[in-house]
């Protein structure tokens, strides 16, 4: 019996990947004997899958700051619905295999990409983009480590202008990073083989994490005849659009493609565009915000509660916040600093209640000790910026008086000398003065 949610997920994914949704698709049986396949066949869509001819756009960043963003596309050959098999757990020690059938029969979506990518990084980036799309759609959490997204790579090499070479299939990849590594190492291996006069076998290989390269898989034999046969228990799957929907059709029994299309959530590419337009942030920042699970939401929550400029928020979130997370290997949802806390901190900074150096200190403290608000930390550590303009003027004056040599340097045009003065004033004010304000006062005083 067909699961409605699976069909909806397939249609959503197909639409998000610009595919043509086949209004009629068929189910087939693919026969082979394997311990984790209890029926002796897998139901799949070999003849006529649910969606075909789509595309997936992904962006590669070239160069460092300022990085250029290039958009590449990989064509989607098809998306098909099929059944999952059980799971085999090999127990080498006792020469036995344990079979877990709990997931046998569960619906899967297989997305087949065309061989349009040329290196590990492209593939990894494309896969990451696919993950984001699936997550945005809600059709899968697409976590590779947990097997929610399984990726197999088909790799071949050829000379420019010649047809594609013999391909090998690489399996057992549980992260985008290893996907890239596996592909690159397989490319290297194939080139090496060919250059040494040998041939590439059309085989299945497994990625060995320890060795960092691919090895032939023992289990899979050569070519198998899967004896495809139409699945007699599942009639052809018919989908409708608003035009072709039969009148009086029971909404429980039919799927309307247009209805689904209208309700598609915002896709990552659209989100990135929107962020750039809405907040005026740079494309590479927009990227970075989407690249971490939960980061965008965090960012948006901070924006909601702060008056600080988006660019400032972006900088804090991407550099400082993300930096702390990465250092301690935490996920966004494990962060000890809440969006509200960061928002409050940025507000203090914005109205110049504290300096940016002080702000960083506060942040560190927030990270370490939960429960305290930024304001509390500021008052505890006495990090408030000097608000007293006159006192600041006096401090500047004092420093200038005390360091005539430096003043001379400034007057002589040494651009770095003023920084020394600023530093001295800051020291004198126990870092409680805003460097920008200091600089402004000094410059005023120093100008003829």
């Amino acid at each position: 019996v067909l699961n409605r949610r699976c069909v909806e997920a397939a249609v959503m994914t197909g639409l998000a990947l610009n595919c043509r949704i086949n209004k009629k698709s068929l189910f087939d049986r693919k026969h082979y004997f394997y311990a984790d396949l209890p029926a002796g066949y897998q139901i799949t869509q070999q003849r006529l899958p649910i969606a075909v001819n789509g595309s997936l756009a992904y962006s590669v960043c070239v160069g460092k700051k300022p990085s250029r963003v290039i958009t590449k596309t990989v064509r989607i050959k098809q998306i098909q619905l099929e059944q999952d098999s059980g799971k085999s757990l090999h127990d080498e020690l006792r020469s036995q295999t344990l079979i877990d059938l709990n997931r046998a029969g569960v619906g899967l979506l297989e997305v087949v990409l065309e061989p349009d990518m040329s290196c590990g990084e492209e593939a990894a980036t494309a896969v990451r983009e696919l993950q984001l799309i699936l997550q945005a759609l809600g059709t899968s959490r697409a976590n590779m480590a947990e097997g929610q997204l399984r990726v197999d790579a088909n790799v071949s090499v050829h000379h420019p202008g010649e047809p594609l070479g013999v391909r090998t299939e690489v399996k057992n990849l549980n992260s985008a990073k290893f996907l890239a590594k596996a592909i690159d190492s397989e490319i290297e291996r194939q080139i090496h083989e060919l250059e040494n006069g040998r041939e590439i076998l059309n085989e299945t290989r497994s990625f060995d994490y320890k060795l960092g390269c691919t090895m032939p898989m023992r289990d899979k034999e050569g070519k198998q005849d899967y004896r495809f046969m139409p699945e007699p228990n599942l009639p052809p799957l018919l989908l409708y659009d608003t035009e072709s929907l039969p009148p009086g059709a029971d909404p429980q029994q039919v799927i309307n493609i247009d209805w689904i299309r209208e309700r598609l959530p915002e896709l990552p590419s659209e989100t990135r565009e929107r962020l750039i337009q809405q907040y005026g942030i740079l494309p590479e920042h927009s990227f970075a915000l989407l690249n971490e699970v939960g980061l965008l939401e965090f960012f948006q929550n901070v924006i909601k509660e702060t008056r600080a400029e988006p660019k400032k928020v972006t900088s804090w979130v991407l550099n400082i916040f993300l930096g702390f997370l990465k250092q301690q290997n935490l996920a966004v949802n494990e962060s000890p600093v809440t969006p509200s806390a960061l928002a409050e901190l940025l507000n203090l900074l914005d109205r110049k209640a504290i300096s940016s150096t002080a702000a960083k200190q506060v942040f560190e403290e927030l990270w370490r000790s939960e429960g305290k608000t930024p304001s509390q930390i500021v008052s505890e550590k006495q990090l408030e910026l000097m608000q007293d303009q006159e006192a600041l003027e006096r401090a500047c004056h004092t420093v200038m008086e005390g360091h005539p040599q430096v003043v001379m340097d400034v007057k002589r045009g040494n651009p770095r000398a003023i920084n020394k003065l600023i530093g001295l004033v800051r020291k004198a004010t126990l870092s409680r003065a805003d460097p920008t304000a200091i600089k402004e006062i000094l410059e005023r005083k120093l100008s003829p």
């Binding site: 067909l2 026969h31 311990a35 209890p38 066949y41 295999t97 005849d225 004896r227 007699p232 228990n233």
Partner: protein
């Protein structure tokens, strides 16, 4: 001799308290024991049956019976899953297998209060036309022991030789047919893929009904050919078959091949005037192997309709001759696929070999399946190979479409039902039957029945008369898709006209008086 015109519905009897469900159950159980030599049952679910009967009795006492089937003993072919009761498909592969759920049709019967007497014998995995190739031995046709047959054969009195020429029941639902014919239950479920319900019905002198494909759920029926299988109904009269159909038909969300429309139970109206009917006689069904007797009955039946005012015309189903080959290709292909799940890992038989998974599969399947099953799997896999798929499977599908269209054309030209023989001749003696292999026999015996499965149409075999040997002969009516009621209506009229005699089994029973009582009771239908 009790004739069919003397009706005293057993349902009415139960409602009026003339007999209790427990008494009825016990009588049937006792009959089962007495007819054990027929080998109609693989499993007799005595405890379960008595418990169900007890519950039915409680309901009747409260005046809250569930309907016409409440308290009525039924039997189920052993290829339907029954929760908690061993389901073997007459194969070593599933010996000892106890399903955790009921097939939808079984559940529906139980929900109506029916009392399950047991699981009936069949050809292994429903492959065969004799009910002779199962792991639990062949089923014997009750008519082998009938007065009618024995008299005609001028038999010597009881001796061991007497039993050596017993007759087959036909197949593959032979156990169900025999169970109904021997009065051990009032209705039985069979399955029909190429004639497996109609064939044994004809040989055992009972009504065998094959519903339209998609009308009755296949969920829980261990599949042979998914695109042709249907649950079949075996009863002693057409009215009873209609009652059971009313309980079973309708959409099942667990079977995506059932039609969406809900179906309500119905009372079969009595047809009195056949003058508006058009009966079609397919000329291609006049096979040279058809026995003279059957041909004569067929002819007489056609004349009967004509004499009562119906229009009887000859029609043509031009692709009939390709039917059996086409059926063979498609049937074996699906069988090969459906049998792939029996690998010894999760349930059923498992061999002792531990060397490798492959070796284990091979030995398990060799030990678990008989030759017939293995032969069909091999043939099916051959047809499904990449290099053969186009030439065999696809071609056969195309031919199937042509065959189905033959029927559509005929029905569109104004024909209401087709009238054909069900089998070539009466039941054969077992020793005769086994002279040819299963495949040959199936090809011969399915000749009139399998095209119906390919086209998904409803059909029913109605016992007509006894042959010169004193054995039942049945004729088949084929109806339009989803016009099952109409088909049964016509069959009921015909049944009334021919007045097929009741089987006389008294001789075999030692216990004289109670037998005639049972017989009298058991030979009637469920309702008036």
């Amino acid at each position: 001799m009790t004739s069919r015109t003397e009706r005293r519905g057993v349902s009415a009897a139960l409602k009026q308290g003339q007999i209790t469900p427990t008494e009825l159950c016990q009588k049937c159980l006792s009959l089962i024991k007495k007819t054990k030599f027929l080998n109609a049952y693989i499993t007799v679910s005595e405890e379960v049956a008595l418990k169900q009967a007890e519950e039915s009795e409680k309901r009747y006492k409260k005046g809250r019976s569930l309907g016409d089937l409440d308290g009525i003993p039924i039997a189920v072919k052993d290829n339907f899953s029954t929760s908690g009761i061993e389901t073997t498909c007459a194969s070593n592969m599933l010996k000892g297998y106890v399903p955790p759920y009921n097939a939808t049709v079984v559940q529906k019967l139980l929900d109506q209060g029916a009392v399950l007497m047991g699981k009936t014998n069949l050809d292994e995995f429903a492959m065969g036309s004799g009910s002779t190739d199962g792991a639990f031995g062949p089923v014997k046709n009750p008519w082998s022991y009938s007065k009618q047959y024995r008299e005609k054969r001028k038999q010597k009195p009881h001796g061991e030789k007497e039993d050596s020429d017993w007759l087959i029941t036909g197949g593959s639902s032979g156990g169900s047919a025999a169970a109904v014919a021997a009065f051990t239950c009032f209705a039985a479920l069979g399955s029909d893929t190429g004639g497996s319900t109609r064939n044994p019905a004809a040989h055992c002198g009972v009504v065998g009904f094959k519903p339209s494909y998609g009308l009755v759920s296949r969920h829980g029926l261990i599949p042979l050919v998914n695109s042709m299988d249907v649950p079949g109904i075996l009863t002693r009269c057409v009215d009873d078959a209609a009652i059971v159909l009313g309980m079973l038909a309708g959409h099942d969300p667990k079977d995506s091949t059932t039609i969406q429309d809900p179906v309500k139970p119905f009372t079969l109206p009595t047809l009195t005037d056949v003058s508006k009917l058009c009966i079609g006689i397919p000329k291609e069904y006049l096979a040279p192997e058809l026995s003279g007797e059957v041909r004569s009955f067929w002819s007489k039946a056609a004349n009967l309709f004509e004499s009562e005012g119906a229009k009887v015309i000859e029609v043509s189903l031009p692709h009939t001759s390709y039917s059996i080959v086409c059926y063979h290709v498609l049937c074996t292909s699906e069988v090969a696929s459906n049998m792939a799940r029996f690998d010894g890992l999760e349930y059923g038989h498992r061999c002792d070999i531990n060397v490798s998974t492959e070796a284990m599969y091979a030995a398990t399947r060799r030990e678990g399946f008989n030759d017939v099953v293995r032969g069909r799997i091999l043939a099916g896999n051959f047809f499904l190979l990449k290099e053969n798929y186009e030439n065999y499977f696809i071609k056969a599908q195309k031919v199937r479409r042509l065959i189905a269209n033959d029927f559509v054309k005929v029905f569109n030209s104004g024909v209401d039902v087709l009238l054909t023989p069900t089998t070539l001749r009466g039941a054969a003696p077992y020793l005769e039957f086994i002279k040819e292999d299963n495949r040959t026999r199936s090809a011969e015996d399915d000749i009139f029945t399998q095209a119906v499965n390919m086209a998904g149409l409803p059909a029913v075999s109605v016992p007509v008369a006894l042959s010169n040997l004193g054995l039942p002969i049945g004729l088949q009516f084929i109806g339009r898709a989803f016009c099952d009621q109409q088909l049964l209506k016509i069959a009921k009229w015909f049944e009334k006209q021919v007045q097929f005699p009741v089987i006389q089994l008294q001789e075999l029973m030692d216990d004289g008086s109670s037998i005639s009582e049972i017989e009298k009771l058991a030979s009637v239908s469920l309702k008036h």
